[in-house]
């Protein structure tokens, strides 16, 4: 928060600055990469130029509709489920100490099982279909949300809790007006982590029982030594991650408006 300067070309300069922030470091990194690969013949590391051509050739076309879009759909479904379940269970577990004691070791147990070995089991129980892949995404993406929600709920300010108790604000009201908002900064930190984990699991879920999808395609490229294509697939993943984070930030700004206001107005400097 610099000095308040509500005048004139703030919009334009702010836009330019944001763009610079958005692209500055990536540009530097690309330059460095370009410089490093300028006379390299390493089979496994393509040059930026190669990568861009490959990227266009590979992903602009039917592959986008056949592989990328369905994957994004499953990812979206998985993330939505993970958020709903993670927050719901997180609040339950965070609110009741006994429940926490009962479930925590079990959850830690399940959490430590690598998705790669979990997939066959899910395949067995659910079948080889989209639902299985969504469940794989949920099975990994739920943890940061769940854990953060639990911690956020537990850290709710005592005076605020007491206030609710005395005014007999309970049940759904308490959830809606105290528990959720109070934990929301931490919940959203968890959601942000889950976005990228969901993406990673989308790839893993498509490594099994698949014949299409972004993750499948990347692994297929890798296995068939189509290295520039593989990197271009990773680029797609990165871009999706970037897109998710932009959407996330817009949502976060809305949900946490009070929080950012509180922090930023007061921490003026």
């Amino acid at each position: 928060m610099a000095h308040l300067d509500p005048d004139g070309p703030r919009h334009v300069s702010a836009f330019l600055r944001n763009t610079a922030f958005l692209l500055g470091l990536p540009l530097l990194l690309v330059l460095w990469w370009w410089w490093a690969t300028i006379d390299s013949t390493n089979f496994f590391v393509p040059t930026p130029g190669e990568l861009v051509t490959t990227f266009v050739d590979t992903w602009f076309g039917p592959r986008f509709w056949q592989d990328v879009l369905p994957s994004i759909g499953r990812l979206a479904a998985g993330l939505a489920l993970a958020i709903v379940l993670g927050v719901a269970f997180g609040i339950l577990i965070g609110s009741f100490k006994r429940l926490r004691q009962l479930l925590e070791p079990l959850l830690e147990f399940i959490r430590a099982v690598p998705p790669v070995v979990l997939v066959p089991l899910l395949m067995l129980l659910i079948g080889i279909n989209d639902l299985m892949k969504v469940v794989v995404i949920v099975s990994g993406a739920i943890w940061p949300i769940l854990l953060n929600t639990v911690e956020g709920v537990r850290a709710t300010d005592e005076v605020q809790r007491d206030t609710c108790a005395t005014y007999r604000i309970r049940g759904l009201n308490r959830l809606r007006y105290l528990t959720l908002p109070a934990a929301s900064p931490q919940i959203l930190a968890g959601v942000r982590q889950s976005l990228s984990i969901g993406l990673i699991l989308m790839v893993i879920s498509e490594m099994f029982g698949s014949s299409s999808g972004l993750g499948f395609t990347i692994v297929w490229f890798q296995r068939n030594f189509a290295i520039p294509e593989m990197w271009s697939g990773i680029l797609v993943l990165g871009l999706i991650g970037l897109g998710l984070s932009v959407i996330f930030r817009v949502v976060e700004r809305r949900i946490l408006r009070w929080y950012h206001g509180l922090r930023e107005v007061q921490r003026a400097s």
Binding site: T166, R168, Y177, P181
Partner: protein, 264 residues
């Protein structure tokens, strides 16, 4: 109506427990306005929290309407000493005031009206749309008071509710408390550090000793029921009473100094 008998409260600590309240016994009949004074750290907040059902007691009887207090009773409102933290930063002032009414199922229109009225009474009619963290300390405290007033509880517990407001506002708020007390016929327990305030406001002043706390004195305020900032405060009886309360607190502090504070 409110019965406190043999109340004892020990806070668990790493070193085994701290005895904040040793033995408190007093009754508050329905519709009384009782002030509680005592040295800093005497256990006033602790007492209020026990009565509000927020803190389990270690020993003793706590009854409201003859029923044991096991959790926050209905129709009780509390204004906390940590007013800043008792407001929800994610809601505007208006919504903070409305929230308890909403939870109690008061219809929207009435809720709005009551909140607006209460904010008006604490002189914050303009601040309804702001967030608590956009307010000054005194304004925050007044929001907490407005929230309690709008709730129209049967029992109102207030923990140094006027600590952060200026003298004039304070006087206005004092009169507000007496007015709603009379109008609604509610029971009020009012913690304050201001001896004049305790005498001016209360019908009775309970003086607590230093921790571990007992009732040091219980003074009936025999001033006329209609009080006025200028006239009442200049009554000779007012001066007598305040001197008496002052001396009692002095004595409470002096005793605490000599005797070591026992801890379990």
């Amino acid at each position: 109506m409110l019965q406190v008998a043999g109340l004892r409260k020990i806070y668990p600590t790493a070193t085994g427990g701290f005895e904040a309240i040793r033995n408190l016994t007093f009754d508050v009949p329905a519709g009384q306005l009782a002030c509680i004074v005592g040295p800093s750290g005497a256990g006033k907040t602790t007492l209020l929290k026990c009565i509000a059902g927020l803190l389990p007691r270690t020993e003793g009887v706590l009854e409201l309407h003859g029923k044991d207090i096991t959790g926050p009773p209905k129709t009780m409102a509390v204004v906390f000493q940590e007013y800043g933290r008792s407001l929800f930063p994610w809601m505007t002032v208006e919504r903070n005031v409305e929230l308890p009414l909403k939870a109690a199922g008061v219809p929207k229109a009435e809720r709005r009206a009551r909140a607006a009225e209460a904010l008006e009474q604490v002189d914050l009619a303009d601040a309804g749309g702001k967030y608590p963290w956009q307010l000054s300390g005194g304004m925050q405290q007044r929001v907490a008071i407005a929230r309690a007033v709008a709730y129209r509880p049967e029992v109102l517990l207030m923990d140094e509710p006027f600590a952060a407001v200026d003298a004039q506002t304070r006087a206005d708020l004092e009169d507000l408390v007496r007015r709603i007390w009379k109008e609604l016929g509610i029971t009020i327990l009012f913690v304050t550090h201001d001896i004049d305030e305790s005498v001016y406001l209360g019908e009775r002043v309970i003086v607590l000793s230093a921790a571990p706390t007992v009732v040091q004195d219980d003074i009936l305020v025999d001033l006329p029921a209609d009080r006025d900032q200028l006239r009442t405060r200049s009554l000779p009886r007012f001066a007598e009473l305040r001197t008496h309360v002052f001396e009692e607190i002095q004595r409470a502090k002096a005793e605490a100094k000599t005797g070591a504070i026992p801890a379990r």
